[in-house]
């Protein structure tokens, strides 16, 4: 199980990386942490002609506070995000998702941006990004642009990234007063991709919910923001009856896919279970 042959370049600057991607077009792939890409290369599910390793491009890694909130560099390793006090205090949703991402050795290599750019529909971070309204900073030949998480994740492993572009950072907005988040996922084994998961970010004032986002992963081709179900929260305090209404609404709203671990009815059912288990403590 060895990869097909490829060439390898390790640009020393973002400009060089973009130039290399531009030169080789669709024959090239960005190598970030490699924790997903390498497996697909080894299995020959993917056979690019050249890998552009952005591991040594300066300034792509690191976590910093900005006026708008938090900036997480695309090449920041999962382990660093997991251990970050800044993330724990400014983006607790992300902090609570980190231990669920694979296993320690993978988190040491895998990158925050790599997970976002891969856009695996069962992955934790894309859902967190959508729930928090994160913005993606993207560099390309023409300069830099930003894309909202909602618009970034387009479909199955499909994002707003154009050929030749590099995701450089994710900006997580500051958390408004009274907003709380909750995270839960169900996986057959610790560290496996989730059968289904929920990243919730909601406003709670005096025990009553306000606005909020319930973003499910593992239920479709991209993170799914259950807008209609979340709207039921507005103005309500927690009760079992509210939980039932949300669970019913989720069954209507979600159109999950099927895989070896769970069929669509099971995922619809579990969405309601997760919503109850995540939301009830938030209202307390």
């Amino acid at each position: 199980m060895k990869p097909a042959p490829f060439a390898y370049v390790r640009p020393a600057s973002l400009e060089d990386a973009i130039a290399a991607l531009d030169e080789h077009g669709e024959d090239s792939r960005i190598l970030a942490g490699g924790q997903s890409l390498m497996a697909t290369l080894n299995m020959r599910l993917s056979a690019p002609e050249i890998l552009v390793d952005i591991g040594r491009v300066p300034d792509l890694a690191g976590i910093e506070e900005t006026d708008a909130g938090l900036r997480i560099g695309a090449m920041t390793r999962h382990a660093e995000v997991e251990a970050s006090d800044l993330v724990a205090s400014r983006a607790p949703l992300i902090a609570s998702a980190m231990p669920h991402i694979a296993h320690p050795a993978v988190r040491n290599c895998g990158t925050f941006g790599g997970s976002i750019a891969l856009a695996d529909p069962a992955a934790e971070l894309p859902a967190c990004a959508v729930a928090l309204g994160a913005r993606m900073t993207i560099a390309g030949k023409g300069g830099t642009r930003t894309v909202d998480a909602d618009a970034f994740f387009r479909g199955l492993y499909e994002t707003a990234l154009e050929p030749g572009e590099v995701l450089t950072a994710v900006e997580v907005p500051g958390i408004g007063a009274g907003w709380k988040s909750g995270f839960m996922e169900l996986a057959r084994r610790h560290g496996d991709y989730a059968m289904i998961g929920l990243a919730a970010h909601v406003e709670v004032q005096d025990g009553r919910f306000g606005q909020g986002r319930l973003v499910f992963f593992g239920v479709g081709e991209r993170p799914v923001c259950a807008v209609r179900s979340a709207a039921l929260l507005d103005g309500e305090s927690w009760s079992d009856a509210l939980g039932d209404r949300i669970a019913d609404a989720l069954k209507e709203e979600l159109d999950p896919s099927e895989d070896l671990n769970a069929d669509a009815p099971m995922r619809r059912h579990l969405a309601g279970v997760l919503a109850r288990r995540v939301l009830a403590p938030l209202a307390a």
Binding site: A7, G34, A39, L51, N108
Partner: protein
């Protein structure tokens, strides 16, 4: 396009320079180019953890990292950590508690536990289990491995 690369790195404290195929992953490089066969190949898709090695102070999957990515890095394998004695207490506990049977997963398991004790020396049994949950062992059922970690820790004066 040239599908080879020249790399130079330190492995177990010794310098190694080679021109290799760019597609060669780190564990194959260690095994085939340097003869360090203590790191094992179990799945080649990042699940089993048998190829776990230490790169710049942190454990990685040797099958999910290109040797080219380790250019300039400081790499340690089971052979090196055995020679320095850094994990001798863990190894002795593994032998005494029979925390290894066939021994194929053991080098990766030991490197993972060595990192655990740096990061969370007082880990509970469940935390130990979760930390090694990316290292597959078909023989032991894992309990003896958890015991061995605790045994080594206790001998160093840590919690039992």
């Amino acid at each position: 396009m040239d599908s080879t690369v020249e790399i130079g790195l330190r492995v177990n404290g010794e310098r190694a320079t080679r021109r290799i195929e760019a597609r060669m992953n780190l564990v194959d490089f260690l095994r085939e180019e340097l003869g360090l066969t203590g790191s094992h190949v179990g799945c080649e898709h990042g699940v089993c953890g048998a190829c776990t090695v230490r790169v710049d102070g942190r454990i990685v999957r040797g099958c999910l990292m290109l040797a080219a990515q380790a250019d300039g890095a400081d790499v340690w394998t089971i052979e090196g950590l055995s020679d320095t004695g850094e994990i001798r207490d863990l190894q002795e506990a593994f032998v005494e508690r029979n925390a290894l049977q066939c021994g194929y997963c053991t080098p990766g398991m030991l490197l993972t536990l060595a990192e655990l004790r740096e990061r969370n020396p007082a880990a509970s049994r469940q935390e130990i289990r979760e930390f090694i949950s990316g290292n597959y062992c078909r023989c032991t059922g894992y309990e003896a491995i958890v015991d061995a970690f605790e045994m080594a820790r206790q001998r160093q004066g840590g919690p039992s």
